[in-house]
Amino acid sequence: MVKVEFLGPIGLEPIEIEADTLKDVSKALQDIKEVSSWLDKCAVAVNDVMSNDLSLKLKDGDRVSILPPVCGG
């Protein structure tokens, strides 16, 4: 199981899903109505490290963060 957390304005509680790679996370999130519309503009981090690689292997207990568009300052 990996934990998926939704940062900032997405406003959803974290969920736990089965996933061996980020690609599995992608598939799972596209099936969640409140999340799917955010995905095209969100970046992803695994255990607080930004990732661009859908083939990235995940292990039990990993934390995946979904980061919507930012505006600091």
Partner: protein, 149 residues
């Protein structure tokens, strides 16, 4: 890196940063101060921060600055920041002006594009995500790239 609940004490932070490097022999010191503008009837802006990734993003800039003989400092507000008060400060110290001028520009622009901070307008006490002024971070959209679906 410094995070504060509510607006920054600009003078205190400026004075402290200045004092900290008084004997460090830097020739140029350029702070950037971001002040909340009154517009569109907002009372305040409000900020969420994801600290672990902000910290690693900031540390990568500390290293980039170090490679150019410079140092970088930063402070940001969490939560509500009323109009005409300060939400954000950063600063570069470097031996020479050219590096300082380039670095503060690059740093502030990358900060706007990639620091994990979310901004909300506060209108009638309600927090409204500033979606139209927000920027997708580098690598956004990876979870719905056509070739991956």
């Amino acid at each position: 890196m410094e995070l504060y609940q509510g607006p920054l004490d600009v003078k205190e932070i400026f004075n402290r940063w200045l004092e900290a490097e008084r004997e460090s022999n830097y020739g140029a010191f350029i702070p950037f101060v971001g002040i909340i503008r009154a517009e569109d009837n907002i009372e305040a802006l409000s900020f969420d921060i994801y600290e672990p990734i902000l910290e690693s993003w900031f540390n990568s800039w500390v290293e980039k600055a170090k490679d150019r003989g410079a140092i970088i400092k930063m402070a940001h507000a969490i939560g509500d920041v009323p109009i005409h008060t300060t939400s954000y400060m950063s600063a570069v110290f470097s031996p020479k002006r050219r590096v300082a001028l380039e670095l503060i520009d690059e740093f502030v622009e990358d900060f706007k594009a990639n620091a994990p901070i979310w901004k909300y307008d506060v209108v009638n006490g309600e927090r409204i995500y500033a979606e139209d002024r927000s920027t997708p971070m580098s690598g956004s959209g990876i979870l719905v790239k056509k070739e991956n679906i």
